[in-house]
Amino acid sequence: MSGGTSSIGDVSERITAADVVKVAKLARLDITPENLERTTAQLAGMLEHFADIDALDLDGVEPMTQPYPLQNVFREDVVLPSLDRAEVLAAAPAAEDGRFRVPPIMGLDG
């Protein structure tokens, strides 16, 4: 991970088609070659716009992760009804013996 001082203006200049391919793989999206150039250009355009916040002095500013601070939200430790298994599995593309059915995990893609 890079240091906290890197600016958006600096890193966004580096976004390339190879970066986009890598991000698509991380996001489990099957990006097509004809969309690659367009997606790269659109992402670069957005990141360029986002460099406006480089102008702000953010030293010592506490990151805000939630808008209404609540801590340690617990409920009573009692058994409550849960979702009906048959109803849940009925909504799945494939199910077998009370479980979700999927293709082999270790397949052609490794």
Binding site: R28, L29, L43, D52, A91, P103
Partner: protein, 482 residues
């Protein structure tokens, strides 16, 4: 608006419908048939709905009339026709988020808001169209085709809750629910000429709302007037053990709040608000300030210096959260699957086929912003900007009780007019986004018309749990037009 199918003179408010049905002077089935009649006449043009639930609605309305006949009270929304944005779970009823990836999926449970509204006697007439997974500002990004603005079919209704706004504006439903992550209730409310409310984050349970950006999403009502919005808020608000981010503090009645005027209230004008609103929008906003002053409020100048950085912070934070939330659509547990010889290939082919272009763009942006080497420069920095914005608002709210801004920089725009540039569409939400980042409430109240005779909304903003003051100002604005 022309209405050729029903003979009703002025549409009744939700409060009037409920009052009439509870007292037996109105039949829920008659109210419903009026609304279904308008749907039959105009839904083909407007396309507000992904699903019209006529049979279920008729059964519910019949049951309500039977309850009244038996001497029972069906509740404060007795017989009120309701539309639900199609990203709220309804047990056994398809919930699509206007995405191919969830087409045909029937949730195994109801959202908390759905349970509460049914218990209050509301009659659900259908599930409304939206930008896929609530990502957009025009409802053009629906996998099932766009919704048209009932006031001008060549123009968008706004978004992402465009179907819910259009349903109320067209008289298909008396009230509806939407969700607002960056303006998705307030902006379409403004463009369709109805009231739209984004409550304080945590005011309304998100249980059963399909997640887009969890730290920003909030459910709220669309209504024809401010009183109906207060009525709905009093019913859907409140703590829910099923949503750990819902606020445990009690919420004062907004129906009570709107009985008070704005005498002595301080209305803030943001002097450093980003420019760019059309002249007709600015003119209506000025008239709104004058109306509140005439009603006894004081206008004060405030500064919110970080307001203009909201767009950047939002478009780093919301896609980051979305990239994580939407990881669950992998072809395993629900929705569609594209078969493949192994799971990894199945994930990527399913997601490529199931998600539309804008959703994929935001997943990519969010994944990039969270990826190793870029996290600090993008996501980490955006969270700090979020703090600056919230702190700036909090300072402004020491001087003012509420703030007034435009809701949308323009009136409803024509289809396709934002072209191929995602940023042009994102700028529609420049005035609504900062509120979501701060977690504060905001509402849009229709305030006259501008270019082409199209409606203009004024946005009222308040601090955390500032709904009573916000609603008082909203009611005063509405009264000033009467």
């Amino acid at each position: 608006m022309s209405d050729t199918t029903t003979a009703d003179v002025a549409p009744l408010s939700a409060a009037q419908i409920a009052s009439g049905v509870r007292s037996g002077t109105l039949k829920a089935v008659d109210v419903l048939e009026q609304h279904l009649g308008r749907i039959a006449a105009r839904e083909g043009d407007v396309h507000a709905f992904n699903l019209v639930m006529a049979d279920e609605a008729r059964a519910a309305a019949t049951a309500i009339d039977a309850a009244v006949a038996a001497g029972n009270d069906p509740g404060p929304l007795a017989g009120v026709p309701l539309a639900l944005k199609d990203n709220m779970c309804t047990r056994g009823i398809p919930t699509t988020c206007s995405s191919k990836i969830l087409e045909g999926w029937k949730p195994p449970y109801d959202a908390t808001v759905v349970t509460k509204l049914a218990a209050a006697g509301a009659v659900t007439v259908g599930k409304t169209n939206l930008d896929e997974f609530a990502m957009g500002s025009s409802t053009e990004n629906s996998a099932f085709g766009p919704t048209r603005n009932p006031l001008d079919l060549n123009r968008v209704p706004g978004g992402s809750s465009g179907g819910s706004a259009a349903a109320v504006a067209a008289g298909f439903a008396s009230v509806s629910l939407g969700s607002d992550t960056g303006g998705s209730i307030r902006q379409p409310a403004a463009l369709c000429g109805v009231v739209g409310v984004k409550p304080t984050y945590g005011y309304v349970s998100r249980y059963g709302l399909v997640a887009f950006a969890s730290s920003l999403d909030q459910i709220g009502p669309f209504t024809g007037n401010v009183e109906d919005a207060a009525l709905l808020m009093d019913i859907i608000g409140g703590h829910d053990a099923m949503d750990s981010t819902s606020i445990p503090e009690p919420q004062p009645s907004l129906m009570e709040a709107i009985t008070h005027g704005v005498e002595g209230m301080r209305i803030g004008r943001i002097t450093d608000l980003p420019r760019g609103a059309d002249p007709d929008v600015v003119e209506r906003l000025e008239l709104a300030f004058e109306a509140l002053q005439a009603a006894g409020a004081t206008i004060v100048d405030v500064e919110v210096p970080a307001f203009g950085y909201g767009l950047t912070a939002y478009y780093l934070i919301a896609p980051s959260e979305a990239s994580s939330n939407l990881a669950r659509y992998d072809g395993v547990r629900y929705g569609m699957r594209v078969d493949a010889p192994d799971t990894n290939t199945m994930y990527s082919t399913t997601r490529e086929a199931g998600f539309g272009e804008e959703v994929q763009r935001r997943i990519m942006l969010g994944t990039y912003a969270l990826s190793a080497g870029y996290y600090d420069a993008y996501y980490g920095k955006a969270l700090k900007v979020r703090r600056l914005i919230a702190d700036d608002f909090d300072r402004a709210y020491t001087k003012a009780d509420v703030l007034l801004t435009p809701t949308s920089p323009t009136v409803a725009f024509e289809f396709g007019s934002k072209g191929d540039d995602p940023l042009a569409m994102y700028l529609c939400d420049v005035y609504t986004i900062p509120t979501n980042l701060a977690g504060h409430p905001g509402m849009s109240v229709p305030y006259g018309t501008g270019q082409h005779g199209l409606p203009i909304g004024v946005q009222i903003l308040a601090g955390t749990l500032g709904e009573p003051a916000m609603f008082r100002a909203g009611a005063a604005l509405e009264r000033s037009l009467a």
